[in-house]
Every structure is written in C-alpha cells, then in structure tokens.
C-alpha cells in the first residue's frame, strides 16, 4: 500500500535510534504530566469538573446546528463577518481572498491547530504571502522548517542549544548562546517588528460563545492580542466544534484547559474578542473539514469534544517515546490518532495501532473522551475497510483457525514448543521482531492442559 509518509512504527524506530534523546523527551513530557497531576489535585471537585465539561460538550454536539446559527447571528450583530468553509481548501481560499483584498504580502498568525490541519501556511506561500507565526514555539519550528510536534508545546522536541543555533542563523543572535531568557528576548524583538508592520492578523479560537457571539483565545504570550489589536483586519479561524452555549460555561472550561495542558491554573491571557474596533474588520471563518462526518459516526462523535489541551500526549507512553513527528499528522498523539482516520483513512491507517490501549489518555482527558476505546474501534473500521497489510491479515486468519479448534490448538502448541526447544534458531533470529531485543519465553515440555490431565483426573 503506497503512502505519502513512512508509517508510525518506522518513524518511531528512527526516533529511538538515539536513546538518550528519547529519555530526555520522555522525562520532559512526564514532567508536564506531573505538573498537571499536581494542579488537578488542588481541586477537590476535579472529576466532577471533567464530567460537567464532557456533558456541556455532549449538549453542544447534539445541538451543533442551532448553536452555530445562534453564534453566527450574534457575531453578525456584533459587527463581525462570518464565513462558512466546508473543507480545508475552502478555508484557505477564503483567507487568501481576504488577504488579497488587503493587498498584504506578509502577516502575523497566532497559534491555530486548525490552520495547521488545513496547511494554510504552505498554501499562502504558494500565493506569494508569507505567514509569520507569533507563538514562540510555533515560530521556532517555522524557522526550522518543521511542523509542530505537539499541539500545545510545538517545539518540545527541540533542545535549547538547537534553538540557539536556529536563532543564530535566522535572527543573528551570538553563536553558542542558548540562554532561554536571552533567546526569548531576541524573539520578542524580532516579533515586535512583525506585529507593527502587519495589517492583518490571523488567530485561532479556543471557545466561541453562542449566546454572545464572542470568541475566547487563550495564550501565554499575549501574541494573539498583540496581533489582533494592532492589525486593521482580524481573521479568526475555528473548527465548528469550538462552540460552547453560554459565557458561564467558560468557568468550567478555562479551569480545566491550562491545568490539563501545562499544569498552570489558567493561561496568562484568556482574551475575549467580541466586536471589531472602529475602522477594524473582524472575520470569523467557521470550518467543517470532516467534522460533520465525524459527528455522524456514533462511535467517534465524542472525539469532537476535544479542547486541544494536549494532556493525552503528555501522558501517552508511546508518544513520549516516539515523538510528535512520528504521527505524520498536524495533531499527534492519542487524540490525533482518533481524529486523523476521519480525514484520510488510508493515509492514517497506522495511527490507531500506535498505542498499547493502556487507557491513560482517557483518564487525563478533561472532557472525558473515551480515546483508547475509540482507538480500538478505529482498528476494526480500518481492517473492515481493507486498509490492513495483507501479511498481517493472513497471520490473523491463520491464528484464528488454530485458536478456534481445540485439537489443532493442542497439536500446534505441542509441535511449536518442541521446535522451539529442539531448533531454537527457528524463532531466535533477526526475522522475529520479538527476538531483536528480547529473549523468547522458555518452552516447557508440558502445557497446563497436559499437566491437568495427568494430575487432576476427572
């Protein structure tokens, strides 16, 4: 089967070639998970809060149509222009047109996973428009010409020394300087110039309130505010599932979001954008891009509850040891693995299998998405649709034949153990992935069933 990308297992194997780096990556993200735990434990009603958030989103998903129309009406009344995009291509076209109307060739964008999902930056670059990502982590990976490896911590895979080198090359900082404070100050100077010249600013949206038509954007750097306030035109891009019914529900989500994401009580900025300033334009692009389809899949509908906190990535023992890029998708980790097959089942057929189904992701999820159960269900769908390798399917059929016939199972087991004892090289070789770094179990002469027959006559 031809894919555009290498599969997760291969990319993960490459990542694991440098074990000390894997250890560092694992420890760094585990530290974030521990910060999250500490913060969660400061709130005695934490589990109730998760339940409340999950139910609010349940209501949203059940009434999405009405909430979206309510949001549109109120946003328009506030003076915003609302655009509807059925897919990524339409979203990109709408944004391009707005930029072309303004005649800009260079503009700022704060963090937006939706624009990553739609591959907006390369699309605009093709049309001669340069996007400057203003979130520090996003800017770093942009300078490195890499995609983000994490939805909240885009450059978590980079060491500070590597960032120092990048800044030396692109921003002219002294070679060998990897002091985070110094580098941050350099980035601030560099970005300030961009903010000031930018007549258009794109931002993402964390929550869109149907009742008021306002949007809430959460950042730690204030970069969304800086961009939107200085520009003549603010374009806010959001997936249609970002809706919440009322402003009061922010009290639930804002308490959960930053605690789950980074172990902070709240993001430094939780900015409400309601109406454009005098002389300014506010455009809101509502994007479907497969979300309606996912909403129609009963088993996977709940994935749309996601508030993009990244907690499932930080806790995932596989993500921590394979790196975000091994998921070859804008959204990595467990949540990415249940969202991606909806976008392109063939291309992302490997992702639901990049998990041990340990279930830790579902336990940290602030909106209680049953992530690991959805991974299991995607495996069934992907197999049914024929996106499994033929060799694997043949192996499974053979296994099933043996395990469905007690006599055959007993004979095959006995022969198999005899072969392993007599000719261990048959299994102890490089073709057996188990044996590469592990010994095979020692095959006993007697199975339990054999022992039972001898020792417990019935």
């Amino acid at each position: 089967m031809e894919h555009q990308h290498k599969e997760h297992s291969l990319l993960a194997e490459e990542f694991n070639a440098n074990e000390p780096r894997v250890n560092w990556h694992d420890e760094t993200l585990w530290w974030v998970r521990q910060k999250r735990d500490k913060m969660a434990w400061t709130i005695p009603e934490w589990e109730d809060l998760r339940e409340a958030a999950s139910r609010i989103k349940h209501n949203v998903l059940g009434n999405l149509h009405d909430y979206l129309l309510e949001f549109e009406k109120n946003a328009q009344a506030n003076g915003a222009v609302v655009h509807w995009a059925a897919d990524a291509a339409e979203h990109n076209k709408i944004v391009l047109q707005l930029l072309q109307e303004q005649g800009v060739k260079r503009m700022v964008k704060s963090k937006s996973m939706l624009t990553e999902e739609c591959h907006l930056n390369p699309y605009l670059a093709e049309h001669g428009i340069e996007v400057i990502d203003t979130d520090l982590g996003e800017r770093i990976v942009q300078l490195a010409k890499e995609p983000p490896s994490h939805i909240v911590l885009p450059c978590i895979h980079k060491k500070k020394e590597e960032i120092g080198e990048l800044f030396h090359e692109h921003l002219g900082t002294p070679a060998g300087n990897a002091d985070p404070k110094f580098l941050t100050a350099a980035a601030r100077q560099h970005l300030r110039a961009e903010f000031i010249q930018s007549r258009v600013a794109i931002t993402g949206v964390n929550f869109a309130v149907a009742e008021t038509g306002e949007m809430v954007v959460c950042t730690n750097e204030g970069n969304a505010d800086m961009g939107a306030h200085l520009a003549d035109v603010h374009i806010a891009c959001m997936g249609i599932e970002k809706i919440i019914p009322q402003r009061k529900h922010l009290g639930v989500f804002l308490r959960l979001l930053a605690r789950s994401a980074t172990g902070q009580p709240i993001t430094t900025y939780s900015s409400h954008f309601r109406a454009p300033k005098k002389g300014q334009q506010l455009h809101i692009v509502l994007v479907d891009n497969g979300r309606s389809r996912q909403l129609g899949r009963e088993d996977f509908r709940n994935s749309l509850k996601c508030i993009r906190c990244g907690a499932c990535m930080n806790t995932c023992p596989v993500y921590r040891r394979s790196g975000g890029h091994s998921y070859h998708n804008a959204i990595a980790g467990p949540i990415g693995a249940i969202l991606a097959p909806n976008l392109d089942m063939k291309e992302y057929a490997d992702l639901p299998f990049a998990s041990t189904l340990c279930g830790s992701c579902s336990n940290v999820c602030p909106v209680k998405i049953d992530i690991h159960q959805q991974l299991y269900k995607w495996r069934q769908v992907i197999t049914r649709e024929g996106y499994t390798k033929k060799t694997k399917a043949a192996g499974m059929h053979a296994m099933n034949i043996v395990l469905s016939k007690p006599g055959l199972y007993k004979t095959a087991g006995g022969i198999g153990r005899w072969v392993m004892r007599t000719f261990p090289a048959v299994v102890n070789n490089g073709l057996n992935p188990w044996f590469r770094q592990r010994e095979m179990p020692e095959p006993p002469k007697e199975s339990f069933a054999d022992w039972y027959k001898k020792n417990r006559k019935q």
Partner: protein
C-alpha cells in the same frame, strides 16, 4: 461454589506453573474448581489487531466451555477484560451475558468475592508490582494515578498479607510496560523501550522480583531482563500468593 478456571492460551503453552499456582491457591481457599478442557483463547489477539470479526470461533468455544458456572476466574486481567467487554455469541447471548458478569481476574476474585483477609504465604523478598493497564484501568484493580480519587490496590492488599514480602516504591506507579498485544512486534522499538524503562524503575528501587496480574506483560519484561542477563525475576502474583512456608 463452582469456579471455572480460565487459563489463557499463552499461559497454558508457556507458563503452566502460573496455571498450577492459580488452581492450587483457589483450592486452598476452598473453591470447587473445574478446568474445562479444550478451552483455547479469549480472542483478544485478533480483536485488538482490528480483527474482532474473526473471533466468533473463540467466542463460541468460550461460551461452550464456561456456561453454567458460578464464577469464572483467570490469572490475567487483560484476557478477563476482553471477555467482559466483548463476549457475544448469537443464539447464546444469555450464557454469554452470564459469563461477562461472572468472570473475575484472580486478585479481584480473592478480595471481592472470597474476601480473603489473610494468607498462609511466605516470600521474603523485595518485590515491585507491575500494574498491568487492562487490569488496573480496565477492571479497576487499583486506583489510577491520573484520577483525583482515594488510593486503593487489590494486588497490593493481597501481597501485604504475605510474610516477609517487602514492596518497593516506584517512581511511576502505573506506566504501561509496552507489551500491548501485537503492538510488541508491530511497534517493536517503542515496545522494548517502554519495557526497558519500566524495568529500570523496578531495578533502581531495589526490586528482586517484579510481579503482576498479567503474564503477558511479565513475559515481555522477562524477555528483556533475560537479554540484559539481569538477576531480577518475574513472577505472577498467584505464584507468590501460593508460595508456602
């Protein structure tokens, strides 16, 4: 009380001593245990690989072997969870439902049904508990580190009844070992790395033995330990609880 002994396929084939310890322990505790001969597998290896539609053969066998018993007990959290979540057979749904409701992992059967509060077992060693995910997060054998809730652990409670046994504390109490069924071969690199990291946590905290409620995880850890030529050994919890004075 008639208890059906469920010995998963890989335990039957590679770890008969775990089956023997489980049987012997249940008998010592006064259960009338039957081992339905001809049983094979719960079907999980196929189902977790995306081939749940192939498992009806295994499901039928399972129902045929285990219907009509008071309880079904197996020394594997993962296989028990699979049955609990997925056992369905057309035309025998009542029997399947009975099984799904009456199947227990060994440790939870001891604490919740038999209400064991003391054991005549002795094991004077330092032991680390590997919390297998399906037992812990799936069956709820122990409190999970992600949740804000009161701590408890059924395996720990049982091990604390064993004379001379000293439990070691781990840095990460319930991280996955990376076995993950066919994950262990299809994602070999990450699987082994996860296993090595789990082992390091036990070794660094002085464990002589790693125990747990799932032989599959232990088999994976044992494979790595033996390749490392480590002195640390793995034992299923039944083997420790059944070790006599």
């Amino acid at each position: 009380m008639k208890v059906g002994l469920f010995i998963p396929c890989y335990i039957d084939q590679f770890y008969p001593q775990v089956g023997i310890a489980t049987l012997s322990l249940l008998e010592k505790l006064g259960c009338d245990v039957v081992y339905p001969q001809g049983q094979t597998c719960c079907g999980q290896p196929m189902a977790n690989s995306g081939f749940e539609h192939l498992t009806h053969g295994c499901n039928e066998l399972f129902v045929d072997h285990f219907e009509g018993l008071d309880y079904i007990v197996g020394p594997s959290g993962s296989c028990v969870l699979h049955i609990k979540d997925h056992l369905h057979v057309e035309g025998k749904e009542q029997a399947a439902t009975h099984i799904r409701q009456r199947i227990y992992e060994l440790a939870e059967f001891l604490t919740d049904v038999l209400k064991v509060d003391h054991l005549k077992a002795k094991f004077p060693h330092k032991v680390g508990i590997h919390q297998s995910c399906h037992g812990q997060r799936g069956l709820g054998l122990a409190q999970m580190s992600e949740l804000v809730a009161a701590p408890f652990s059924k395996p720990q409670r049982l091990l604390q009844m064993v004379e001379g046994l000293e439990l070691v504390e781990l840095k990460r109490t319930d991280e996955c070992c990376g076995f993950g069924g066919t994950f262990c071969v299809f994602e070999e690199a990450v699987s082994v790395k996860m296993g090595k990291d789990r082992i390091a946590d036990h070794v660094n905290n002085g464990a002589e033995y790693i125990t747990g409620n799932d032989v599959s995880c232990l088999m994976h850890l044992e494979g790595i330990l033996r390749r490392q030529k480590s002195d640390v050994k793995v034992l299923h919890i039944a083997e420790i609880l059944n070790s006599s004075i």
